[in-house]
């Protein structure tokens, strides 16, 4: 499976996770929707769409959790006929990320959750701390950053 990352420290933990959990697709992104790494996607437009939707779903679920029990829900699982998705946040020294995992009958929710816990631990250990706080994602920079990241992932940087 092709794995591409914007930042090199992500690659090894993500590859291990995708292999162990037998995921079909995986995406690591900022809560703003900026992609950081992808596994299994072949087209930039699919990554862009998935990131936008995953960020929106994560924000919605987080707010629902805050409304219902005062804190954001930590993970989300949807089961389709053949494919399932798992969406959950990862805390690192560089801030929170979101991981979207798509899997099929080769895996199970239990396996994905099991290895996702390892991914959280591995990414938290591998993440170099940010020298300065990340500025908020502004509309003016968003598209430029997004295009840079997509170009980096799909070899057009």
């Amino acid at each position: 499976m092709i794995i591409a990352t914007v930042e090199p420290w992500i690659e090894a933990p993500l590859k291990q996770y995708v292999d162990d959990a037998r995921a079909r697709l995986a995406l690591l992104l900022h809560p703003s929707g900026q992609v950081l790494a992808q596994a299994g996607f072949t087209r930039a437009v699919d990554v862009m769409t998935a990131c936008a939707l995953a960020a929106a779903v994560h924000a919605t679920a987080g707010e629902l959790g805050r409304q219902l029990e005062g804190r954001a829900f930590r993970g989300l699982h949807h089961s389709g006929v053949e494919k399932q998705l798992h969406l959950a946040a990862i805390e690192t020294a560089r801030g929170p990320y979101i991981c979207l995992t798509v899997f099929d009958q080769e895996s199970s929710l239990g396996l994905v959750r099991l290895y996702f816990a390892d991914l959280c631990r591995d990414l938290a250990a591998a993440a170099p701390p940010l020298a300065t706080l990340r500025p908020p994602a502004l509309a003016a920079d968003f598209e430029r950053d997004l295009n840079q990241n997509l170009a980096s992932l799909f070899g057009r940087g």
Binding site: S107, S108, L109, G110, L111, R113, L114
Partner: protein
């Protein structure tokens, strides 16, 4: 909390050498109910045992051997035994390597009957 599976799991865990007994969903790899010792984490066992059982079932089918009756994995420091039925549920027992597998097998098959 008492569930419909509490008595079944307790009777399995009473067997000599049994460390844990679980009912897991084969498709999801999640714990439905479990009888665990203090400090044991059932989630990894459930996920991996369900995956193992599923692979065994698919392998048996591919080899045209029919349904899997009883699955046993012997490891250095213990063994995992599992049985599954027509529904999605698999009963899993984690036991010491010195445990009597024959008795565990009988109890597992009895448990499976009561589950179905």
């Amino acid at each position: 909390m008492i569930t419909p599976y509490t008595a079944l799991l307790e009777s399995l865990s009473r067997q000599r050498g049994v460390r844990a007994s679980l009912i897991v969903s084969e498709g999801d790899g999640l714990v439905v109910d479990a009888n665990l010792r203090f400090g044991q984490d059932g989630d990894p066992v459930a996920a991996l045992a369900a995956s193992l059982y599923r692979k065994a079932r698919l392998s048996a089918r591919a080899a045209r051997l029919g349904a899997v009756g009883f699955l046993q994995l012997d490891a250095e420091r213990g063994r995992i035994c599992a049985v599954g039925g027509r529904n999605d549920l698999v009963i899993v027992v984690v036991a010491e390597s010195t445990a009597n597998v024959g008795l565990i097998r009988v109890e597992l098959l009895k448990a499976l009957e009561s589950l179905e």
